[in-house]
Symmetry: C2
Subunit: 294 residues, 2 copies
Protein backbone atom coordinates (compact mmCIF):
# COMPACT_ATOMS: atom_id res chain seq x y z
CA UNK A 1 0.00 0.00 0.00
CA UNK A 2 1.08 3.62 -0.37
CA UNK A 3 2.20 5.84 2.49
CA UNK A 4 -1.07 7.76 2.14
CA UNK A 5 -3.11 4.54 2.48
CA UNK A 6 -1.01 3.40 5.43
CA UNK A 7 -1.43 6.74 7.22
CA UNK A 8 -5.15 6.56 6.53
CA UNK A 9 -5.32 3.20 8.33
CA UNK A 10 -3.01 4.42 11.09
CA UNK A 11 -5.45 7.29 11.76
CA UNK A 12 -8.13 4.73 12.70
CA UNK A 13 -5.95 3.59 15.64
CA UNK A 14 -6.01 5.29 19.07
CA UNK A 15 -4.20 8.62 18.59
CA UNK A 16 -2.81 10.94 21.23
CA UNK A 17 -4.24 14.49 20.91
CA UNK A 18 -0.63 15.66 20.54
CA UNK A 19 -0.35 13.55 17.38
CA UNK A 20 -2.49 16.25 15.69
CA UNK A 21 -4.16 13.57 13.58
CA UNK A 22 -0.74 12.52 12.21
CA UNK A 23 -0.85 15.58 9.94
CA UNK A 24 2.30 17.26 11.23
CA UNK A 25 6.02 16.43 11.30
CA UNK A 26 6.24 16.45 15.09
CA UNK A 27 4.06 15.52 18.04
CA UNK A 28 3.23 17.96 20.85
CA UNK A 29 3.47 16.79 24.47
CA UNK A 30 3.13 19.70 26.85
CA UNK A 31 6.08 21.97 26.10
CA UNK A 32 7.91 19.10 24.41
CA UNK A 33 7.87 18.32 20.72
CA UNK A 34 8.92 14.91 19.41
CA UNK A 35 9.82 13.77 15.94
CA UNK A 36 10.98 10.42 14.58
CA UNK A 37 12.66 9.75 11.26
CA UNK A 38 13.72 6.54 9.61
CA UNK A 39 16.35 6.62 6.87
CA UNK A 40 17.42 3.73 4.68
CA UNK A 41 20.44 3.28 2.40
CA UNK A 42 19.47 3.56 -1.24
CA UNK A 43 16.33 5.50 -0.37
CA UNK A 44 17.33 8.47 1.80
CA UNK A 45 21.08 8.38 1.35
CA UNK A 46 23.55 6.98 -1.12
CA UNK A 47 25.81 4.06 -0.26
CA UNK A 48 28.63 6.29 -1.46
CA UNK A 49 27.80 9.08 1.02
CA UNK A 50 30.45 9.42 3.75
CA UNK A 51 29.13 7.71 6.94
CA UNK A 52 29.86 10.83 9.00
CA UNK A 53 27.64 12.84 6.68
CA UNK A 54 24.87 10.24 7.00
CA UNK A 55 25.01 10.79 10.77
CA UNK A 56 24.94 14.55 10.23
CA UNK A 57 21.94 14.32 7.93
CA UNK A 58 20.03 11.93 10.23
CA UNK A 59 20.31 14.33 13.14
CA UNK A 60 20.03 17.56 11.15
CA UNK A 61 16.81 16.52 9.39
CA UNK A 62 15.18 15.64 12.71
CA UNK A 63 16.36 18.90 14.27
CA UNK A 64 14.87 20.69 11.27
CA UNK A 65 11.47 19.32 12.31
CA UNK A 66 12.13 20.71 15.79
CA UNK A 67 13.19 24.07 14.26
CA UNK A 68 9.81 24.26 12.52
CA UNK A 69 8.25 24.04 16.00
CA UNK A 70 10.42 26.86 17.35
CA UNK A 71 12.01 24.31 19.66
CA UNK A 72 15.45 24.03 21.14
CA UNK A 73 16.87 20.50 21.11
CA UNK A 74 16.62 18.53 24.37
CA UNK A 75 18.05 15.20 23.24
CA UNK A 76 17.92 12.37 20.73
CA UNK A 77 17.46 8.60 20.80
CA UNK A 78 19.30 6.55 18.17
CA UNK A 79 18.32 3.25 16.55
CA UNK A 80 21.41 1.79 14.91
CA UNK A 81 22.30 -1.44 13.11
CA UNK A 82 25.92 -2.35 13.93
CA UNK A 83 27.74 -3.41 10.77
CA UNK A 84 31.39 -3.09 9.80
CA UNK A 85 33.89 -1.33 12.02
CA UNK A 86 35.02 1.32 9.54
CA UNK A 87 31.54 2.52 8.69
CA UNK A 88 30.43 2.47 12.33
CA UNK A 89 33.44 4.45 13.55
CA UNK A 90 33.07 7.08 10.83
CA UNK A 91 29.35 7.30 11.60
CA UNK A 92 30.03 7.81 15.32
CA UNK A 93 32.60 10.54 14.55
CA UNK A 94 30.01 12.36 12.44
CA UNK A 95 27.37 11.82 15.11
CA UNK A 96 29.66 13.40 17.67
CA UNK A 97 30.19 16.45 15.38
CA UNK A 98 26.51 17.02 14.67
CA UNK A 99 25.37 16.53 18.29
CA UNK A 100 27.97 19.07 19.43
CA UNK A 101 27.19 21.49 16.58
CA UNK A 102 23.53 21.76 17.60
CA UNK A 103 23.89 21.12 21.34
CA UNK A 104 21.73 18.00 21.24
CA UNK A 105 22.93 15.29 23.67
CA UNK A 106 22.07 11.62 23.30
CA UNK A 107 19.27 10.37 25.54
CA UNK A 108 19.43 6.69 24.64
CA UNK A 109 18.54 4.26 21.92
CA UNK A 110 18.93 0.71 20.77
CA UNK A 111 21.26 -1.31 18.55
CA UNK A 112 20.88 -4.45 16.51
CA UNK A 113 23.30 -6.46 14.38
CA UNK A 114 22.87 -5.42 10.70
CA UNK A 115 21.78 -8.63 8.95
CA UNK A 116 24.08 -9.74 6.10
CA UNK A 117 22.98 -8.17 2.83
CA UNK A 118 20.43 -5.85 4.41
CA UNK A 119 20.50 -2.12 3.60
CA UNK A 120 21.44 0.10 6.54
CA UNK A 121 18.30 1.39 8.30
CA UNK A 122 18.80 4.13 10.87
CA UNK A 123 16.25 5.80 13.07
CA UNK A 124 16.29 8.78 15.33
CA UNK A 125 13.78 10.26 17.75
CA UNK A 126 14.53 13.89 18.55
CA UNK A 127 12.96 15.72 21.47
CA UNK A 128 12.80 19.50 21.76
CA UNK A 129 11.22 22.11 23.96
CA UNK A 130 9.15 25.01 22.66
CA UNK A 131 7.13 27.65 24.47
CA UNK A 132 4.77 28.14 21.52
CA UNK A 133 5.00 25.39 18.92
CA UNK A 134 3.23 26.45 15.71
CA UNK A 135 1.33 23.98 13.51
CA UNK A 136 1.66 23.61 9.77
CA UNK A 137 -2.10 24.03 9.45
CA UNK A 138 -2.65 27.58 10.76
CA UNK A 139 -2.26 29.71 7.62
CA UNK A 140 -5.17 32.00 6.79
CA UNK A 141 -6.41 33.57 3.57
CA UNK A 142 -4.46 36.81 3.13
CA UNK A 143 -1.32 35.55 4.90
CA UNK A 144 2.01 35.87 3.14
CA UNK A 145 4.25 32.82 2.56
CA UNK A 146 7.92 33.27 3.44
CA UNK A 147 10.99 31.08 3.32
CA UNK A 148 14.40 31.36 4.99
CA UNK A 149 17.69 31.01 3.09
CA UNK A 150 17.93 29.82 -0.48
CA UNK A 151 16.07 27.03 -2.26
CA UNK A 152 17.35 24.28 -4.57
CA UNK A 153 20.95 24.09 -3.40
CA UNK A 154 20.59 20.58 -1.96
CA UNK A 155 18.88 19.35 -5.14
CA UNK A 156 21.90 20.48 -7.14
CA UNK A 157 24.11 18.93 -4.45
CA UNK A 158 22.40 15.57 -4.98
CA UNK A 159 23.15 15.81 -8.72
CA UNK A 160 26.76 16.59 -7.84
CA UNK A 161 26.90 13.61 -5.42
CA UNK A 162 25.68 11.47 -8.33
CA UNK A 163 28.45 12.67 -10.64
CA UNK A 164 27.55 16.12 -12.01
CA UNK A 165 30.17 18.88 -11.95
CA UNK A 166 29.47 21.67 -9.49
CA UNK A 167 30.73 23.68 -6.53
CA UNK A 168 31.39 21.83 -3.22
CA UNK A 169 29.21 24.36 -1.39
CA UNK A 170 26.13 22.83 -3.08
CA UNK A 171 27.26 19.28 -2.26
CA UNK A 172 27.69 20.38 1.36
CA UNK A 173 24.11 21.63 1.46
CA UNK A 174 22.92 18.19 0.35
CA UNK A 175 25.13 16.20 2.69
CA UNK A 176 25.23 18.42 5.78
CA UNK A 177 22.07 20.53 5.92
CA UNK A 178 21.70 23.16 8.65
CA UNK A 179 18.54 23.00 10.75
CA UNK A 180 17.31 26.59 11.19
CA UNK A 181 16.98 26.32 14.97
CA UNK A 182 17.65 29.95 15.92
CA UNK A 183 15.40 31.20 13.12
CA UNK A 184 12.62 28.83 14.17
CA UNK A 185 12.77 29.99 17.78
CA UNK A 186 12.65 33.66 16.69
CA UNK A 187 9.78 33.03 14.27
CA UNK A 188 7.56 30.70 16.31
CA UNK A 189 5.71 33.36 18.35
CA UNK A 190 4.84 35.32 15.18
CA UNK A 191 3.90 32.82 12.49
CA UNK A 192 0.42 31.48 11.77
CA UNK A 193 1.93 28.28 10.32
CA UNK A 194 5.42 26.84 9.94
CA UNK A 195 7.09 23.70 8.57
CA UNK A 196 10.44 22.81 7.09
CA UNK A 197 11.07 22.38 3.36
CA UNK A 198 12.16 18.77 3.16
CA UNK A 199 10.58 17.43 -0.03
CA UNK A 200 10.47 20.60 -2.15
CA UNK A 201 9.09 24.12 -1.94
CA UNK A 202 6.03 23.44 -4.11
CA UNK A 203 4.96 20.15 -2.53
CA UNK A 204 5.56 21.42 1.02
CA UNK A 205 3.73 24.71 0.36
CA UNK A 206 0.80 22.70 -0.97
CA UNK A 207 0.87 20.57 2.20
CA UNK A 208 0.78 23.69 4.36
CA UNK A 209 -2.12 25.09 2.35
CA UNK A 210 -4.00 21.78 2.49
CA UNK A 211 -3.50 21.44 6.26
CA UNK A 212 -4.68 25.06 6.65
CA UNK A 213 -7.71 24.70 4.38
CA UNK A 214 -6.62 27.51 2.07
CA UNK A 215 -5.10 27.96 -1.40
CA UNK A 216 -1.53 29.06 -1.99
CA UNK A 217 0.19 30.80 -4.89
CA UNK A 218 3.97 30.66 -5.36
CA UNK A 219 5.77 33.29 -7.42
CA UNK A 220 8.75 31.62 -9.11
CA UNK A 221 10.30 35.06 -9.73
CA UNK A 222 10.62 35.45 -5.96
CA UNK A 223 12.13 32.06 -5.11
CA UNK A 224 15.51 32.84 -3.49
CA UNK A 225 18.37 31.21 -5.41
CA UNK A 226 22.00 31.21 -4.32
CA UNK A 227 24.77 32.54 -6.55
CA UNK A 228 26.24 29.02 -6.51
CA UNK A 229 22.98 27.57 -7.84
CA UNK A 230 22.71 30.20 -10.58
CA UNK A 231 26.27 29.36 -11.61
CA UNK A 232 25.39 25.66 -11.54
CA UNK A 233 22.56 26.51 -13.94
CA UNK A 234 19.36 25.35 -12.19
CA UNK A 235 16.29 27.55 -12.72
CA UNK A 236 13.66 28.50 -10.14
CA UNK A 237 11.24 25.75 -11.17
CA UNK A 238 13.93 23.08 -10.78
CA UNK A 239 14.89 24.58 -7.42
CA UNK A 240 11.28 24.74 -6.22
CA UNK A 241 10.70 21.05 -6.95
CA UNK A 242 13.97 19.75 -5.45
CA UNK A 243 14.06 18.35 -1.91
CA UNK A 244 16.38 18.39 1.09
CA UNK A 245 16.58 22.17 1.57
CA UNK A 246 15.63 22.15 5.28
CA UNK A 247 14.79 25.82 5.18
CA UNK A 248 11.77 27.09 7.13
CA UNK A 249 8.54 27.83 5.28
CA UNK A 250 6.14 30.00 7.23
CA UNK A 251 3.04 32.15 7.01
CA UNK A 252 2.75 35.65 8.45
CA UNK A 253 -0.25 37.98 8.50
CA UNK A 254 -0.13 40.60 5.71
CA UNK A 255 2.08 43.54 6.64
CA UNK A 256 4.05 41.63 9.30
CA UNK A 257 7.82 41.56 8.95
CA UNK A 258 9.70 38.43 10.01
CA UNK A 259 12.30 38.86 12.78
CA UNK A 260 14.88 36.90 10.70
CA UNK A 261 16.17 37.19 7.11
CA UNK A 262 13.59 35.61 4.82
CA UNK A 263 11.98 36.03 1.41
CA UNK A 264 8.32 36.41 0.43
CA UNK A 265 7.61 33.65 -2.06
CA UNK A 266 3.82 33.62 -2.22
CA UNK A 267 0.48 34.22 -0.57
CA UNK A 268 -2.60 32.40 0.71
CA UNK A 269 -6.18 32.85 -0.49
CA UNK A 270 -9.51 31.16 0.05
CA UNK A 271 -9.81 27.86 -1.84
CA UNK A 272 -7.80 24.70 -1.93
CA UNK A 273 -5.30 24.70 -4.78
CA UNK A 274 -1.63 25.36 -5.49
CA UNK A 275 -1.06 27.99 -8.18
CA UNK A 276 2.22 28.96 -9.75
CA UNK A 277 3.08 32.34 -11.29
CA UNK A 278 6.25 33.91 -12.63
CA UNK A 279 5.73 37.58 -11.79
CA UNK A 280 2.50 38.45 -13.68
CA UNK A 281 2.41 35.29 -15.77
CA UNK A 282 0.59 32.11 -14.73
CA UNK A 283 2.82 29.03 -14.99
CA UNK A 284 1.38 25.51 -15.43
CA UNK A 285 2.12 23.17 -12.53
CA UNK A 286 4.86 20.65 -13.30
CA UNK A 287 3.98 16.93 -13.14
CA UNK A 288 6.34 16.50 -10.21
CA UNK A 289 6.00 19.01 -7.34
CA UNK A 290 8.83 17.58 -5.24
CA UNK A 291 10.22 14.42 -3.75
CA UNK A 292 7.58 11.85 -2.86
CA UNK A 293 8.72 8.86 -0.89
CA UNK A 294 6.30 6.42 -2.48
CA UNK B 1 32.26 -4.34 16.46
CA UNK B 2 30.23 -5.76 19.33
CA UNK B 3 27.32 -3.99 21.00
CA UNK B 4 29.54 -3.50 24.07
CA UNK B 5 32.26 -1.82 21.97
CA UNK B 6 29.68 0.32 20.18
CA UNK B 7 28.11 1.45 23.46
CA UNK B 8 31.60 2.21 24.78
CA UNK B 9 32.20 4.57 21.86
CA UNK B 10 28.71 6.02 22.12
CA UNK B 11 29.44 6.94 25.75
CA UNK B 12 32.24 9.26 24.55
CA UNK B 13 29.61 11.39 22.72
CA UNK B 14 27.66 14.20 24.41
CA UNK B 15 25.14 12.46 26.70
CA UNK B 16 22.06 13.94 28.36
CA UNK B 17 22.13 13.46 32.17
CA UNK B 18 18.82 11.60 31.76
CA UNK B 19 20.63 9.02 29.60
CA UNK B 20 22.14 7.71 32.88
CA UNK B 21 25.36 6.92 31.02
CA UNK B 22 23.44 4.64 28.62
CA UNK B 23 23.34 2.02 31.39
CA UNK B 24 19.58 1.72 31.70
CA UNK B 25 16.73 0.63 29.43
CA UNK B 26 14.99 3.98 29.49
CA UNK B 27 15.94 7.64 29.63
CA UNK B 28 14.62 10.02 32.28
CA UNK B 29 13.38 13.48 31.26
CA UNK B 30 11.65 15.22 34.15
CA UNK B 31 8.66 13.03 35.00
CA UNK B 32 8.83 11.39 31.57
CA UNK B 33 10.66 8.18 30.74
CA UNK B 34 11.53 7.29 27.17
CA UNK B 35 12.59 4.01 25.62
CA UNK B 36 13.36 3.02 22.06
CA UNK B 37 13.54 -0.49 20.63
CA UNK B 38 14.47 -1.75 17.22
CA UNK B 39 13.33 -5.22 16.14
CA UNK B 40 14.38 -7.03 12.98
CA UNK B 41 12.93 -10.11 11.27
CA UNK B 42 15.12 -13.15 11.77
CA UNK B 43 16.71 -11.61 14.88
CA UNK B 44 13.92 -10.56 17.26
CA UNK B 45 10.98 -12.29 15.62
CA UNK B 46 10.42 -15.16 13.23
CA UNK B 47 9.23 -14.61 9.68
CA UNK B 48 6.53 -17.16 10.52
CA UNK B 49 5.22 -15.13 13.50
CA UNK B 50 1.76 -13.67 12.83
CA UNK B 51 2.18 -9.95 11.92
CA UNK B 52 -0.38 -8.93 14.53
CA UNK B 53 1.71 -10.65 17.20
CA UNK B 54 4.84 -8.85 15.97
CA UNK B 55 3.00 -5.57 16.55
CA UNK B 56 1.92 -6.76 19.98
CA UNK B 57 5.45 -7.73 20.91
CA UNK B 58 6.99 -4.51 19.60
CA UNK B 59 4.70 -2.42 21.78
CA UNK B 60 4.59 -4.76 24.78
CA UNK B 61 8.39 -5.00 25.07
CA UNK B 62 8.72 -1.22 25.03
CA UNK B 63 5.93 -0.86 27.59
CA UNK B 64 7.75 -3.41 29.72
CA UNK B 65 10.68 -0.97 29.89
CA UNK B 66 8.21 1.69 31.03
CA UNK B 67 6.74 -0.74 33.59
CA UNK B 68 10.22 -1.15 35.09
CA UNK B 69 10.20 2.62 35.64
CA UNK B 70 6.82 2.53 37.37
CA UNK B 71 5.46 4.57 34.48
CA UNK B 72 2.06 4.74 32.89
CA UNK B 73 2.15 4.90 29.08
CA UNK B 74 1.74 8.35 27.50
CA UNK B 75 2.18 7.45 23.85
CA UNK B 76 4.32 5.76 21.22
CA UNK B 77 6.04 6.72 17.98
CA UNK B 78 6.31 4.07 15.26
CA UNK B 79 8.98 3.60 12.59
CA UNK B 80 7.56 1.27 9.94
CA UNK B 81 8.70 -0.07 6.57
CA UNK B 82 5.66 -0.43 4.30
CA UNK B 83 5.80 -3.77 2.48
CA UNK B 84 3.01 -6.02 1.24
CA UNK B 85 -0.63 -5.24 1.90
CA UNK B 86 -1.53 -8.42 3.77
CA UNK B 87 1.30 -8.17 6.27
CA UNK B 88 0.79 -4.46 6.80
CA UNK B 89 -2.95 -4.79 7.43
CA UNK B 90 -2.48 -7.67 9.88
CA UNK B 91 0.26 -5.67 11.63
CA UNK B 92 -2.01 -2.64 11.96
CA UNK B 93 -4.85 -4.77 13.36
CA UNK B 94 -2.45 -6.13 16.01
CA UNK B 95 -1.12 -2.65 16.69
CA UNK B 96 -4.67 -1.45 17.28
CA UNK B 97 -5.27 -4.29 19.75
CA UNK B 98 -2.09 -3.74 21.77
CA UNK B 99 -2.44 0.06 21.91
CA UNK B 100 -5.99 -0.33 23.22
CA UNK B 101 -5.04 -3.12 25.63
CA UNK B 102 -2.48 -0.94 27.39
CA UNK B 103 -4.07 2.47 26.82
CA UNK B 104 -1.10 3.77 24.84
CA UNK B 105 -2.12 6.08 21.98
CA UNK B 106 0.06 6.78 18.94
CA UNK B 107 1.95 10.06 19.03
CA UNK B 108 3.49 9.91 15.57
CA UNK B 109 6.22 8.21 13.62
CA UNK B 110 7.66 7.71 10.18
CA UNK B 111 7.31 5.24 7.33
CA UNK B 112 9.60 4.13 4.54
CA UNK B 113 9.15 1.72 1.63
CA UNK B 114 10.64 -1.69 2.62
CA UNK B 115 13.43 -2.28 0.08
CA UNK B 116 13.05 -5.49 -1.96
CA UNK B 117 14.74 -8.40 -0.21
CA UNK B 118 15.41 -6.49 3.01
CA UNK B 119 14.33 -7.98 6.36
CA UNK B 120 11.55 -6.06 8.09
CA UNK B 121 13.01 -3.60 10.60
CA UNK B 122 10.56 -1.97 13.00
CA UNK B 123 11.20 0.64 15.63
CA UNK B 124 9.18 2.12 18.44
CA UNK B 125 9.77 4.93 20.87
CA UNK B 126 7.52 4.69 23.92
CA UNK B 127 6.99 7.56 26.33
CA UNK B 128 5.66 7.16 29.85
CA UNK B 129 5.15 9.23 32.96
CA UNK B 130 6.40 8.20 36.40
CA UNK B 131 6.40 10.06 39.69
CA UNK B 132 9.41 8.11 41.00
CA UNK B 133 11.27 6.19 38.30
CA UNK B 134 13.68 3.68 39.87
CA UNK B 135 17.05 2.83 38.31
CA UNK B 136 18.43 -0.63 37.71
CA UNK B 137 21.57 0.34 39.62
CA UNK B 138 20.24 1.02 43.11
CA UNK B 139 20.41 -2.41 44.78
CA UNK B 140 22.40 -2.56 48.03
CA UNK B 141 24.15 -5.37 49.84
CA UNK B 142 21.53 -7.11 51.99
CA UNK B 143 18.63 -6.36 49.63
CA UNK B 144 16.43 -9.23 48.51
CA UNK B 145 15.88 -9.95 44.80
CA UNK B 146 12.27 -10.53 43.75
CA UNK B 147 10.52 -11.31 40.49
CA UNK B 148 6.87 -11.06 39.43
CA UNK B 149 4.99 -13.89 37.70
CA UNK B 150 6.68 -17.03 36.38
CA UNK B 151 9.95 -17.45 34.53
CA UNK B 152 10.80 -19.47 31.43
CA UNK B 153 7.36 -19.67 29.82
CA UNK B 154 8.35 -17.52 26.82
CA UNK B 155 11.52 -19.56 26.27
CA UNK B 156 9.40 -22.70 26.01
CA UNK B 157 7.00 -20.73 23.79
CA UNK B 158 9.87 -19.96 21.39
CA UNK B 159 10.67 -23.68 21.19
CA UNK B 160 7.00 -24.33 20.45
CA UNK B 161 6.97 -21.59 17.76
CA UNK B 162 9.93 -23.38 16.22
CA UNK B 163 8.12 -26.73 16.11
CA UNK B 164 8.19 -28.33 19.57
CA UNK B 165 4.98 -29.76 21.00
CA UNK B 166 3.58 -27.80 23.92
CA UNK B 167 0.58 -25.93 25.34
CA UNK B 168 -0.65 -22.79 23.51
CA UNK B 169 -0.46 -20.82 26.77
CA UNK B 170 3.34 -20.97 26.57
CA UNK B 171 3.34 -19.93 22.89
CA UNK B 172 1.10 -16.98 23.85
CA UNK B 173 3.62 -15.85 26.46
CA UNK B 174 6.32 -15.78 23.76
CA UNK B 175 4.23 -14.04 21.12
CA UNK B 176 2.09 -11.69 23.22
CA UNK B 177 3.92 -10.85 26.44
CA UNK B 178 2.19 -8.75 29.09
CA UNK B 179 4.04 -5.66 30.31
CA UNK B 180 3.63 -5.50 34.11
CA UNK B 181 2.46 -1.89 34.13
CA UNK B 182 0.21 -1.97 37.21
CA UNK B 183 2.79 -3.97 39.16
CA UNK B 184 5.54 -1.55 38.17
CA UNK B 185 3.52 1.46 39.29
CA UNK B 186 2.77 -0.19 42.65
CA UNK B 187 6.40 -1.26 43.14
CA UNK B 188 8.26 1.87 42.00
CA UNK B 189 8.04 3.85 45.27
CA UNK B 190 9.36 0.89 47.29
CA UNK B 191 12.14 -0.76 45.29
CA UNK B 192 15.84 0.10 45.47
CA UNK B 193 16.32 -1.15 41.88
CA UNK B 194 14.05 -2.45 39.12
CA UNK B 195 14.31 -3.68 35.53
CA UNK B 196 12.42 -6.05 33.29
CA UNK B 197 13.57 -9.60 32.53
CA UNK B 198 14.02 -9.49 28.77
CA UNK B 199 17.12 -11.57 28.09
CA UNK B 200 16.93 -14.08 30.94
CA UNK B 201 16.74 -14.09 34.72
CA UNK B 202 20.45 -14.85 35.28
CA UNK B 203 21.88 -12.38 32.77
CA UNK B 204 19.49 -9.61 33.81
CA UNK B 205 20.12 -10.20 37.52
CA UNK B 206 23.84 -9.97 36.82
CA UNK B 207 23.26 -6.68 34.97
CA UNK B 208 21.32 -5.27 37.94
CA UNK B 209 24.09 -6.37 40.32
CA UNK B 210 26.82 -4.92 38.08
CA UNK B 211 24.97 -1.58 37.70
CA UNK B 212 24.51 -1.51 41.49
CA UNK B 213 28.12 -2.43 42.31
CA UNK B 214 27.15 -5.49 44.35
CA UNK B 215 27.11 -9.29 44.00
CA UNK B 216 23.94 -11.32 43.55
CA UNK B 217 23.04 -14.94 44.35
CA UNK B 218 20.10 -16.67 42.64
CA UNK B 219 18.47 -19.70 44.23
CA UNK B 220 17.24 -22.01 41.44
CA UNK B 221 14.95 -23.78 43.94
CA UNK B 222 13.02 -20.51 44.30
CA UNK B 223 12.64 -19.62 40.61
CA UNK B 224 8.84 -19.50 40.01
CA UNK B 225 7.81 -21.96 37.29
CA UNK B 226 4.30 -22.26 35.85
CA UNK B 227 2.41 -25.56 35.84
CA UNK B 228 2.41 -25.36 32.04
CA UNK B 229 6.20 -25.12 32.01
CA UNK B 230 6.60 -28.03 34.41
CA UNK B 231 4.32 -30.10 32.16
CA UNK B 232 6.39 -29.00 29.14
CA UNK B 233 9.42 -30.32 31.00
CA UNK B 234 11.81 -27.36 31.30
CA UNK B 235 13.84 -27.16 34.53
CA UNK B 236 14.66 -24.08 36.59
CA UNK B 237 18.10 -23.60 35.00
CA UNK B 238 16.64 -23.69 31.49
CA UNK B 239 13.94 -21.25 32.59
CA UNK B 240 16.42 -18.91 34.26
CA UNK B 241 18.53 -18.65 31.09
CA UNK B 242 15.64 -18.19 28.63
CA UNK B 243 14.63 -14.71 27.45
CA UNK B 244 11.45 -12.79 26.62
CA UNK B 245 9.73 -13.17 30.01
CA UNK B 246 9.03 -9.44 30.52
CA UNK B 247 8.45 -9.95 34.21
CA UNK B 248 9.75 -7.34 36.67
CA UNK B 249 12.94 -8.01 38.58
CA UNK B 250 13.40 -5.80 41.63
CA UNK B 251 15.33 -5.32 44.83
CA UNK B 252 13.74 -4.58 48.21
CA UNK B 253 15.39 -3.92 51.55
CA UNK B 254 15.48 -7.03 53.78
CA UNK B 255 12.19 -7.53 55.60
CA UNK B 256 10.15 -5.45 53.17
CA UNK B 257 7.15 -7.10 51.55
CA UNK B 258 6.26 -6.19 47.96
CA UNK B 259 2.78 -4.67 47.39
CA UNK B 260 2.17 -7.10 44.50
CA UNK B 261 2.44 -10.88 44.09
CA UNK B 262 6.11 -11.75 43.63
CA UNK B 263 8.68 -14.38 44.52
CA UNK B 264 12.02 -14.05 46.33
CA UNK B 265 14.63 -15.53 44.01
CA UNK B 266 17.89 -14.31 45.51
CA UNK B 267 19.82 -11.75 47.49
CA UNK B 268 22.54 -9.13 47.13
CA UNK B 269 25.90 -9.04 48.94
CA UNK B 270 29.08 -7.03 48.78
CA UNK B 271 31.25 -8.02 45.83
CA UNK B 272 30.75 -8.17 42.11
CA UNK B 273 29.80 -11.67 41.00
CA UNK B 274 26.78 -13.77 40.09
CA UNK B 275 26.43 -16.95 42.16
CA UNK B 276 23.97 -19.73 41.65
CA UNK B 277 22.64 -22.11 44.30
CA UNK B 278 19.93 -24.78 44.44
CA UNK B 279 18.74 -24.56 48.02
CA UNK B 280 21.89 -25.28 50.05
CA UNK B 281 23.96 -26.57 47.13
CA UNK B 282 26.21 -24.33 45.02
CA UNK B 283 25.57 -24.76 41.28
CA UNK B 284 28.22 -23.95 38.64
CA UNK B 285 27.26 -21.10 36.30
CA UNK B 286 26.16 -22.30 32.87
CA UNK B 287 28.18 -21.11 29.84
CA UNK B 288 25.17 -19.19 28.58
CA UNK B 289 23.39 -16.93 31.11
CA UNK B 290 20.67 -15.73 28.75
CA UNK B 291 20.01 -14.26 25.38
CA UNK B 292 22.80 -12.01 24.13
CA UNK B 293 22.15 -10.01 21.00
CA UNK B 294 25.72 -10.20 19.72
Amino acid sequence: MTEVDFLGLLRTLPLHPGAIGLTDDAAHLGSLVLTKDLIVAGVHFLDSDPPGDVAWKLVATNLSDLAAKGAEPVGAMLGYPIGDDGWDRAFLAGLDRVLRAFDCPLLGGDTVRLPAGAPRFLSLTAIGRSASAPLRGGARAGDILWVTGTIGDAGAGLAIAQGADGPPTLLDRYRRPTPRLAEGQALAPHVTAMMDVSDGLLIDARRMAAASGVAVTIDLARVPLSDALLTFGDDALTAATAGDDYELLFALPPGATPPVAATQVGWFEGGSSLRLVDGDQPVPLPARLGYQHH
